[in-house]
Symmetry: C2
Subunit: 576 residues, 2 copies
Amino acid sequence: MGVLVDVFLILVYIIYTAKAGEAKDLKWEVEYKRWSPDGKESVVIAINGKFPGPTIRARAGDTINVELTNKLPTEGVVIHWHGITQKGTPWADGTASISQCPINPGESFVYTFKVDKAGTFFYHGHYGMQRSSGLYGMLIVDVAEEQTEKFTYNDEFHILLSDWWHKGAHEQEVDLSSKPMRWIGEPQSLLINGRGQFDCSLAATSSSESAVPCDDLEGGEQYAPHILHVVTGKTYRLRIASSTALASLNFSIGNHKLTVVEADGNYVEPFTVDNIDIYSGESYSVLFTADQDATQNYWISVSVRGREPKTPQGLTFLTYQPTSEKQLPPSAAPPVAPAWNDYVSSKAFSNKILAAADSPPPPTNSDRRIVLLNTQNTMDGFTKWAINGISLSLPTTPYLGAIKYKLMDAYDHTPPPDHYTPDDYDIMKPPPNPNTRSGNGIYELEFESTVDVILQNANTNSVEVSEIHPWHLHGHDFWVLGYGEGKFTDKDAAGFNLKNPPLRNTAVIFPYGWTALRFRADNPGVWAFHCHIEPHLHLGMGVVFAEGGDRLGNIPNEALTCGLTAKYLMNKETAT
Amino acid sequence: MGVLVDVFLILVYIIYTAKAGEAKDLKWEVEYKRWSPDGKESVVIAINGKFPGPTIRARAGDTINVELTNKLPTEGVVIHWHGITQKGTPWADGTASISQCPINPGESFVYTFKVDKAGTFFYHGHYGMQRSSGLYGMLIVDVAEEQTEKFTYNDEFHILLSDWWHKGAHEQEVDLSSKPMRWIGEPQSLLINGRGQFDCSLAATSSSESAVPCDDLEGGEQYAPHILHVVTGKTYRLRIASSTALASLNFSIGNHKLTVVEADGNYVEPFTVDNIDIYSGESYSVLFTADQDATQNYWISVSVRGREPKTPQGLTFLTYQPTSEKQLPPSAAPPVAPAWNDYVSSKAFSNKILAAADSPPPPTNSDRRIVLLNTQNTMDGFTKWAINGISLSLPTTPYLGAIKYKLMDAYDHTPPPDHYTPDDYDIMKPPPNPNTRSGNGIYELEFESTVDVILQNANTNSVEVSEIHPWHLHGHDFWVLGYGEGKFTDKDAAGFNLKNPPLRNTAVIFPYGWTALRFRADNPGVWAFHCHIEPHLHLGMGVVFAEGGDRLGNIPNEALTCGLTAKYLMNKETAT
């Protein structure tokens, strides 16, 4: 296979100046570019000519300024800073139709936000299906200079996971919006730091159909794997984030145990496992020690979970220094992930994630409980996902500007319901009436109230099918109070974990189950809460929360050059 | 082949209410849609669910109001009304970066313009390469109610010609903008009213490689040919327009003579030919009489001219009523077009086009002569086309708004040169220094002055190659004063045809030749003048004219929600 690309090389792209509370000024150009993420030439959205985009590295307390110039020929663009709460800068959340108007082609927009907490984050497109075109990268926040981490390690790596289709995101979008819907299918490849192998496998012993060995890889290819180089006896922090469009993943390193220490930028009580599940929108830090036979190499593997996998395992490997000439894939077979539908193992993993000892505890009580039923539906022959009977259809005017300037026509002011109807909805069966409607009403949350959200899963339109959905909340972390089977009832609240629930920004609902979340509505702004599966969001699987509408602060006009806000701001001289 | 789609059916889509000086209110939704223009499934930009878009039909003097709603997921859109001069409504010309900001996704924009002259026109996208995605349709203006045409006919048909690639326009755009450029290649199909046949041929005797007969066509297919039904003895007006992205075409009807009576909405002195050349951006009306053996069917054929053809002939056919069951393709071989590089025949055809007897004569003298050298160049490794050494790179802020509000930073105020340098540039050879620069300066024309433009062709970057370029002027018709070989010199002006030069909005330059045009700068606005080959324009082959900047009239704010005009209009309350 020759010399392969070294994961250390990606440090070249890291923008890292290490003083606390500093401003980091970045200039990014976003453009389409030919790229071969998995050996088959495709088109990606590149940032500064690279895919994935550059890793942002900062310290807690820093202010990030990204001057984003849109070099796409005809498309607007925004970037969401996933996991950053945007306190005081709700207009910088990077969600089209919610926090801002898309940045027009040829124009620049400056995102300014503070990274107030150390952790492993990432960023990605949040307009149309541009995330599926590869608009993503990592965002790593180190502890402030005077602070130390709760755990020790000698060095670190980061891995951004994604999935890749050979059909471009534009066509995927057309197909999803077709009547009848054409499903995008399973991804062709899983990418590790933007690199996968479609036509060949790193593993000679691979059980996948594309088992032709990647013999001719020389290391310079865009799809050559990143190899992790370790030194015997050292402990490494591996930061892992998943920006997949669809796939839920299981991650492991052959022969090496993983100790989970961080989830979504929050410390968790350390626990050690052979492999971790990671859903789209999630991030983890795991520690591992290079304590194995240094003459061997070891697989790093990602496999699909929760959907019957039709995608080859994503692979790279770990090699012990000195590297000499032994940079070959391990001769052993890659690790075998739990069966795709082994939800017992998935739930066991999720339940192991608990807050670290001195984490902020949740409020004991909540002021409001919103129960959100997730259903697959149809609307005039189109396939949709709906929440409490409404499929989210985002408005043209961003909510944030509409609320700021009280533009009543910008969206439907009837809030969506806090509970689904009928009460006796049978979550074990396809919807009796599959028809839904679309809407853009929002949940207005009382400022500084405590809100519980119960995500209630259900059967899809097909009998005996219920899928995994990782839900991501913007602007907040939430406490995951618990997971349950079947239909949530008020009695289940008695079982909420109020002692050490983990803080997260993304939480999964398992098939036919529920997940209970609690958060404080303490961040003035308008915040998306949605399934992080790109086609599901595209088909309406989300809701919008708004809070502190009278405390939104200044919004740059540049964020509001569309819809009714543009009209209002352009005409206000003559407005009465 | 079964029963094929009847060209009369397209009348269903025609919006036609026949009172003079009326307002025609149209509501259009623009969206991506799966479509099979040539039998291979692709994605098109559809209007109201149809490809090509609906035919607009009006009378001279009518006002057209098109409320265009952009249903593209992430792209802006504009539509240019090709051949309509937009007197008094320069903001409605539908050119991104020139007359308006792109209409944002989800938003509506109302184009309002008067069709002041009868003729055969069309409309198309004018942003990025959206025309190549199929955003086009016909626009037919009948004479005002009290008027009669200069010629008589019993009925009419219209045919919109285009070319089609299986690679989508987004990818084409990426490839053209790549370093090194990847050329899009020749089209896979030629379309007649949006219908072509890629995998099969209507002609059993076709000489093309894809000569499998289209036996299984049933008529309902999106790519089934439109058949023209005629009645013996009747005379028909056939309106033909070409919206091709690349291909120059030759059009003929087997056994039937064609009498050319109109070109680009202007009457020409009638002349009769066996076939016509039609370049992208041009339109013609031809008369033909159904005077052949009514028991036979006859080919309608389009073939590529001016580039070595790798695209099968585009075909449909003409059948005499009563149709009975004989709706089969003609058994004879399709007409054979002149050889692709038979420029003698092309020039002979162009030179036959002369103004009808009572057409407005050109001014005897011009106030300014601008000589535009067309060269293929490179810029930092990218391929470009340049005019007098500058490759047009459109600004983010539309010129029209920038001029209206005197926003000096919106574009380069150094005008491009009126003449190329050096004087002794050898047009017969590749450029000695192929490097060019990009720019967005414009030609400011004195209002109501008479301007001559000499389009000077040259050798491309490859030895012994010079291509055809059809240049289209917005906002005006021009008189075509003549075509010449080699390098234009001042002496050539003595040979200008000032007696009966045809009025056109599009004129071709032949390889290694020049074309002389004259027009009156009498239309306040900012007007693109460019090669109508989509990839050539994309690579910079155009210039911009501005005139009457102090007479621009009102521009709707909705046309200016981008760049510096948005900034200016949003902030003007606080501006000094």
